[in-house]
Amino acid sequence: MGVIELAWWQLALAALMVVALAACTAVARLGMGRSLLVAAARTVIQLALVGLVLEALFAAERLVWVALMALGMLLIAGREVMARQRRRLLGGWAFGIGTLAMFLSSFTVTVLTLTVIIGPEPWFRPQYAIPLLGMMLGNTMTGVALALDRLTDTAWRQQAVIENRLMLGQRWQEAVGDIRREAMRSGLMPMINAMAAAGVVSLPGMMTGQILAGSPPALAVKYQILVMFTITLGTGFGTLAAVAAGSRRLFDGRERLRLDRLAAPRG
């Protein structure tokens, strides 16, 4: 069962409708036309470039290139985690903790899934490795960014409470315990919601894509379950590591709350 070929002129039809939508919002003075067109253009350019890169990567099928691609994705995700925080840790810690947490969780889970569960030949076969890692990183990034943002922002707002708990002789882990729990919760909630709603409220994008591409639904479902579990693992362990390291960094060796290690919020 083959996939129906899509020609560029057919895409142009869809693009024309987006332009029509932008025109409508412009006429109604809703002020969204410009950003809509810019975003649509970015989609075309970015995906076309990625398509070229993937074509080359699939043709070469060399571990070095796959690893380089993975590294590039990781660094961009790390930057994104840092950019999404209102009060990030200073001195490269926001980037460092986020990137390391994502590296430890996403890479470990992806490699394990490839070698132990799916088992393509060779194990780093880019058709499997890159999309899998991409989905892991994308979701882990959201979890880590949400958790770190919640952690630092809440610590900032609850400075007096944390310090009062320290004054009463509590360990730093205890004094920041509630905030750590909240940060973990906000990091994991999107994934828990996605699993709970999968198939009932929404058909997951990857499964839909696979079915469109001609896979039998039963196989697509199995892949979707696998991917959701691995994403949950990656997000969970990544968030866990980020919250542990981030909250430790909020205190110094004498268990003092050090909010001077946070950047002032922008905007």
Partner: protein, 204 residues
């Protein structure tokens, strides 16, 4: 259990203050006054090791730096001017409150079931003192412990605090504004003058 350790500040340096040396015998109350912003609270925070500082603090023969910070703070307990509460009920914050202490501050055992959100600022201040003392410290650092209380309650809290301090033998640094209160409770009185502490003669 009676603590018998003196609190000793050795060339303590924090903020504007430099080289503060002070020895408080067990059961002795030293009042500390000074204009706002002169560094009274920061000095207390340094003694509790909540703020980076120079110099040393000793409790008996225990050096501040030799204990894990949380263990030090459990011994040398700071009660801030404004208390903060994290759980819903008052009782969740207390180790064990003696009924006699509750009564002395005008509460009954019922207060432990109260919602923190319902407390007035005066109730919070008295309960914060109880909360600190319920954890059995060895020295107290009090930052304006009666700031939100009326005259009658202030006297009541003072009397209760002084009785406990004498009984348990805590060395106490007590930040106060009111000259009347300083006269009533202080064994010695220090005023912050620029970068150092100056002793003020007590009337008693």
């Amino acid at each position: 259990m009676t603590a018998t350790d003196a609190l000793h500040l050795e060339r303590l340096t924090v903020g504007e203050l430099a080289g503060v040396s002070l020895t408080l015998a067990p059961g002795e109350i030293h009042c500390l006054s000074g204009s706002s912003g002169s560094g009274k609270s920061r000095l207390l925070r340094a003694v509790a090791d909540l703020e980076p500082h120079g110099g040393e603090v000793w409790l008996g023969d225990i050096d501040q730096a030799s204990l894990p910070a949380h263990a030090w703070r459990a011994q040398v307990m700071l009660v801030p001017a404004e208390s903060h509460w994290w759980a819903d009920r008052v009782g969740e914050h207390m180790a064990k409150a003696a009924p006699a202490d509750l009564e002395a501050l005008g509460f009954t055992a019922e207060v432990l079931e109260w919602q923190v959100a319902r407390l007035s600022s005066g109730e919070k201040q008295r309960l914060a003192l109880l909360r600190a003392i319920s954890r059995a410290p060895s020295a107290l650092l009090l930052d304006e412990p009666t700031a939100n209380l009326d005259e009658v309650t202030t006297r009541r809290v003072e009397a209760w605090l002084m009785a406990r301090i004498r009984e348990r033998g805590w060395p106490v640094i007590w930040v106060a504004h009111d000259p009347g209160q300083i006269q009533r409770v202080a064994d010695r009185h220090w005023r912050i003058d620029g970068t150092k502490l100056v002793e003020v003669a007590t009337w008693a």
